[in-house]
Symmetry: C2
Subunit: 191 residues, 2 copies
């Protein structure tokens, strides 16, 4: 039995916005209000939400995560993608070339994203110190097991290593629900 | 590499109804109209759908699967259960003691189910001949792998063996979406 135990963070659908899009949706010079900190240092869930509209469906309150990013990006589950009617591919965060867009509506305006809708590839954030201790390299693909009545081994879990990261595995709601786990449950790296 | 290859059937939310509830929802003496046959002999998706209403949400078109059963049963994903606001447990089909209920609405009336809402435990139907050839016993818990960019090993997959069954693995939409697979894809029994 491996002793490489990792806490699991379940990511519900959310959006990252560029400064330009924050201005378009909330008004010139608007600053997001942090609601609560996330597991990764400096990242936060904002008080603000937006409406997201696809060809087949919509979500009225999609949480914004801050701070602002270089490019806007919407992370949804595959279940969400069917509901919206958008063919979102599984991608690493930031890799949005060739992905579909969506319409986003805020209190001060609306933006049509040309790209940025993804299903986030499951991954684990490692601080450099843990990665070294456990012999894990950046970009390595891992197998990670979750226990319980819906026990699952997730393959192709991407290791992301940085001295800016805190140990946390990120999966989406489909993955969490398929494995019967909740935010804060534990997973074990099996190889 | 195992050669125990099984086709996967993805179950979207659906309902099985008792004769009494078909009468209450569609009228006395009503007979379900088969729309298309399912993988298991004699089972069919009906033309008819019903509305299902929970404390937090509703689904307007939930497919009925026929023929009529002894007890009504609604099978949903965990994602659906959050949307409806119903704490549906993971159960084998037919094991509905102590499960929550829901309100069901049809064209001729409405029924409040006292129980029957479950998240179906993933399982494989085996014809007796395959089970014998592969050395698999009824009720055995299996590990089953699905390939691809979201490759997953599902544990605790229940074997169900009968000479009335055709080989098929049944998972729900959360499980299918988490594993990036579609109806008709293949899975491999790994032990």
């Amino acid at each position: 039995m491996s002793d490489k135990i990792v806490p699991v963070g379940v990511s519900a659908r959310h959006i990252h916005l560029s400064k330009e899009h924050i201005a378009a949706l909330f008004g010139e010079g608007y600053e997001l209000k942090p609601l609560k900190p996330l597991s990764q240092p400096g990242q936060f869930a904002a008080e603000e939400t937006v409406q997201v509209i696809g060809p087949k469906g919509r979500f009225d309150t999609v949480r914004i995560l801050g701070p602002a990013r270089k490019a806007s990006q919407i992370e949804i589950s595959r279940t969400d993608s069917f509901q919206l009617g958008v063919l979102a591919p599984v991608r690493e965060s930031g890799n949005i070339e060739g992905t579909p867009g969506l319409t986003v509506i805020g209190p001060a305006g609306e933006v049509t994203l040309e790209r940025g809708v993804i299903v986030a590839a499951r991954h684990i954030h490692f601080h450099t110190s843990e990665a070294e201790r456990w012999g894990i390299a950046d970009k390595q693909l891992l197998r990670v097991r979750v226990e319980g009545e819906r026990a699952v081994v997730f393959e192709n879990v991407i290791a992301r290593v940085s001295d800016q990261f805190a140990l946390d595995m990120h999966i989406d709601t489909d993955e969490a629900n398929a494995a019967g786990i909740r935010n804060g449950d534990k997973a074990v790296i099996v190889e």
